[in-house]
Subunit: 644 residues, 2 copies
């Protein structure tokens, strides 16, 4: 290809030319102002070729991909207790068994996903793994489950983070929703800036949180054993039992606590973002994350049981625990701040995962193709924006209340866990005997089985509380994904032309195809359009709609005197319609000309200032819109620009 | 002109043809549904030629044009008392003198306007009369004063009507604003249906109101004289005096009472709607209206003073007066209902006047030309809709409270009275001595003088309370009217071509003007656009924006194989912009081709269902919008319609 520059005119037929552009500059003041704002918020655009260079170390990756999982320590134990206290103080005997069961489940899931990471070094999200092994329908179930849960993760994490703030500073309580939405917008902007910078932003709070929780738990156990600080008693009385201590209640508490596992799959999705050797680094990070999460969760659960903490409306359990162990000391504020920070940023995991999943789905034509487009900083802007919008809506609808959101949460995660692990199990099974690894197959099988059972428990116990919403939503989403795919397939089938077909197409065009010029009065724009029409065709009809009889006669007289060598049709419209009669006439002319392509030429005048368009009937626009649905009619706007 | 039918092809050059249409039928389901709703609400469209046939008898015209004026009896006395009671019970001595002064003023105004009716049988609104005699600037002051007052009339009348309802049925009080807005919408629909039917609708409540008030006043005076019914005492105590009984307070009370005169000019505006002999019928109706209004106003004022009624928050004065005279009897409910009905319908006077004034202004190019267009039933739909919208906004802002609106009211009316009467005086003065009528000149001069003095009093006494808003608004409106006129004059000057100029224009066109086809991929719409381009020009450049390097190479290969005999320019856009680089390239090509008209041809595919457009990047639309501001670039959309 020959490279051409500004102003070069490509001349030789059949050749192709290259022309490379720099970022363009908007020409209006408003456009430039908007661009400046965008530059400040998001940064300078990156070239497409710079995409591959952003990779994370294990320490960074742990922060980026695990903030969601780790941060659930901040609310998981509280959600267990919230259910158990319905049965009164006797229920406290079950806190620790439930905690251990969840920790064991975590172990199984981590080891299952460890195998996924090795099997899919290019990124093993549930959608990809399920599509690869179980086929289209299960993969769409996995995808839609995950999408709902990503949105919920943002809403839940942000709401919990705001709860940490309002626990410490009670004056901020009325502004919970506003703070939450602001946080979502800030995280959205950070993600539009790109991944590497997010890595840097997220490392600090994640490690501060882990550090703070570690000290809190050590001090808590020391107090338990009578060493060091004497615990401060918190005097909350357990409310009277309203429910019997049934198996159902215990399972419901367990199901609520399973929120602790959300986000565990993030590392397996994000393998390509690791430094080489990707899969090994990712597997190590995954195990490290499992250990940290398990210890923190068990620590908080044991201490909450020991100190007999009671969940209350206006203060989080972590806040209570910290006050019991260290009092309202500076360290208390440090823990609250770190908790708030990691929770607000935990949402970031979803901001990494949702747009990527949407990209995969859009690439497979299950979602609008806008989700495949990369923004200035190479992030999938559409996915990022849609996630921010939907999660903000959830936060507003549920008033930034974690306990109201929890019944909807974790349903999707466990469905996708189950599908992902079942896919891995089947993958081992399909392999020829030489490569089949029975231990690995057992691990994934156990993972699939346990997460499947847990999914059933979660759905059954949370059904009335809100899980039904998700169960209605999932088929709705799947039907839409399939509908979009069907549409794109239809379109592709209708638009496709092989090179063979292009080469062999019949050449039937003539230089005098039927052309209509519609005009309002005989002024400069109209004459320009008439002259233009004569450059494109020799078969021209000029039409004019007359609303009153006088108008018709006046136009006819002028036309006769103007001496233009074209036929004029005056459409008399006694009911003062303009569009309808014009469209009807054009349709009839099109039919009687034999139905080839008819060109409608519209003079259009462009005022000097945008606000002046309201001072004119935009008949040309409305006519173009009306003709849009008419096959075989090409519409040409011939603009006439006013200078003042 | 030869009449042609559907499908006839006009063939002979230079001829003009007639083609007459019936009302068209929308082709989509939604379009047809909307049309059915419109038919039910507004009725079948009328032909333009049916316009002149709707004329009113004197009895009908009194109802249509006087409901505004007559209905002000319902609140004018109350507004006088509201001011006077600020000075305590001593102020009651001034009620009757103020009432008589206002009645005298009414007499002067009626006789002044009687002369306007005879002088302007084609309709003598203040704008027309002032323009005719004093010139542009005074006429625009009259017009803008009237427009603000028409809007206020709707807001005040509707609010007062709703007050009559909420006085009788206290349960409806919280819904005052909702009831008021609903009433405005219903009146709007009635007006969109057309004048004749409004005449029928409005006659009944107007005469019921006059009848009810007449009986009430007769019974009231009978009670006063000790005949018939014994009045029921209403025990409202006069609140302690907060203001001294100053001249300013008395003038303020007078100014508030002048609201009684609003609407008196309506008949002079509406002379053309009367049956022949128009001016005589109109003059008689005007005098009749003055007599009825004067008697009712004085009756209510005398009785209110006699029974020492005190204005209160939740009940209107008329409601109190009726309860005093007849108790809470069925007749009480009849009077309340008739009052509510006439007030709600009084707004109709403005719905007749505002759109007509806007039409006159738009015809003179001081307002957007949409105000000249007549709707299905020949009403000026834009004016009707704008009045409904702005008055609803006022009702909402002022919470449907009459006393809050009154300080803004009547300012405009008296400014326009003054200008109109001054114009009439000057008109007599200008006449040659033979035709000059000194008595008539004296009457109009007296009218101008008194209304001028009253205008000053109103502005001075209501200034702080709200009249300042009107005084700021009027110059703002006038500046805008002038700006719109300047714009239309500018446009006309730029677009105008004489027949001479058309005949003698240089014919410079060539059949091979520069043409660009922009395409996304080599599919059916693109090939259709390329083939279409070859019907209109022999100088074609095809352009394609490649976002990634691979895309560029793939396109180049396909192009080479497709064997299309046209040059292809591939614009490489490393920053993934599409629009900017394309526009830049087109601009450069346009410049290097010498700047004649360049045609940009855009393949555009039209999905089978409207909601599917969200599944595609509407690059064609966005490109067309971006090119709209580029002089000399014609844009052609070549549609490709999907079937499913």
């Amino acid at each position: 290809m020959r490279l051409i520059r500004s102003g070069d005119i490509p001349s030789r037929k059949r050749d192709s030319y290259r022309y490379i552009t720099e970022p363009t500059t908007p020409q209006t003041l408003v456009g430039r102002a908007l661009r400046s704002v965008r530059r400040v918020l998001i940064g300078r655009p990156l070239e497409s070729s710079q995409a591959a260079h952003q990779h994370l170390s294990k320490v960074q990756a742990l922060a980026v991909f695990s903030s969601d999982a780790l941060s659930s320590t901040a609310y998981a134990t509280e959600e267990i207790l919230l259910i158990l206290v319905l049965a009164g103080s006797a229920a406290y005997n079950y806190v620790i068994p439930i905690g251990i069961a969840i920790a064991a489940l975590l172990g199984i899931v981590v080891f299952s996903y460890r195998q996924t990471v090795h099997a899919y070094p290019q990124g093993g999200g549930s959608y990809i793994v399920t599509k690869d092994n179980l086929g289209r329908s299960p993969s769409l179930l996995a995808a839609s489950s995950l999408m709902t849960d990503y949105i919920l993760t943002v809403a839940v994490s942000i709401s919990a983070g705001v709860a940490a703030i309002t626990s410490a500073f009670t004056g901020t309580r009325p502004y919970a929703v506003e703070i939450a939405v602001t946080a979502i917008v800030l995280i959205m902007i950070a993600n539009l800036r790109g991944l590497q910078e997010s890595g840097r932003i997220f490392a600090v709070p994640t490690y501060l949180f882990v550090f703070g929780m570690a000290i809190l738990i050590v001090l808590g156990f020391a107090g338990w054993l009578g060493i060091g600080i004497t615990p401060h008693r918190v005097v909350d009385t357990i409310p009277p039992a309203t429910h019997g201590l049934t198996l159902f209640l215990i399972l419901r508490a367990f199901a609520s606590g399973c929120a602790a596992l959300t986000g565990v799959e993030a590392i397996s999705d994000g393998v390509p973002a690791f430094k080489e050797p990707r899969d090994q680094n990712a597997a190590k990070t995954l195990v490290a994350m499992g250990l940290i999460l398990g210890s923190m969760f068990l620590g908080v659960t044991f201490l909450s049981q020991h100190y007999h903490l009671v969940p209350v409306e206006n203060e989080t359990l972590i806040s209570q625990l910290t006050r019991v162990v260290v009092g309202t000391s500076p360290f208390y504020y440090f823990v609250q701040a770190a908790t708030a920070a990691i929770l607000l940023l935990a949402a970031n995991t979803s901001f990494a995962d949702f747009p990527r999943l949407a990209y995969f789905l859009a690439r497979d034509r299950f979602m609008p193709r806008q989700f495949t487009l990369r923004g200035d900083r190479l992030g999938y802007s559409t996915g990022i924006a849609v996630l921010a919008l939907t999660s903000s809506a959830l936060v507003i609808i549920f008033g930034a209340n974690v306990s109201h959101l929890i019944p909807l949460y974790a349903v999707g995660v466990f469905i996708s866990f189950t599908l992902s692990q079942a896919s891995m199990t089947y993958r081992w099974w399909r392999m020829d005997t030489a490569r089949r690894n029975y231990v690995a197959m057992f691990i994934n099988g156990l993972g699939a089985l346990t997460t499947g059972v847990v999914a059933v428990i979660i759905i059954a116990t949370k059904f009335v509380g809100g899980a039904w919403i998700i169960l209605l939503l999932l088929p709705f989403i799947i039907v839409n994904l399939l509908g979009i795919r069907r549409h794109y397939d239809n379109v592709a089938a209708q638009l496709r032309l092989t090179l063979e077909q292009i080469r062999n197409r019949p050449v039937t065009w003539t230089r005098d195809s039927a052309t209509v010029v519609a005009l309002d009065r005989l002024n400069r724009p109209a004459i320009r359009a008439i002259d233009y029409a004569q450059t494109v065709s020799g078969d021209i009809t000029v039409v004019h709609v007359a609303e009153e009889g006088d108008d018709a006669n006046e136009m006819r007289e002028k036309w006769d005197k103007a001496g233009i060598q074209l036929p004029l049709v005056i459409i008399e419209s006694p009911y003062r319609e303009v569009l309808g009669p014009l469209v009807n006439y054009i349709e009839e002319l099109h039919r009687s000309k034999g139905g080839g392509t008819l060109t409608v030429i519209l003079p259009e005048f462009v005022p000097a200032h945008w606000y002046e368009i309201f001072l004119h009937n935009q008949t040309a626009w409305r006519l173009r819109a009306a003709l849009w649905s008419h096959p075989g009619i090409a519409v040409t706007s011939v603009p006439y620009h006013l200078k003042r």
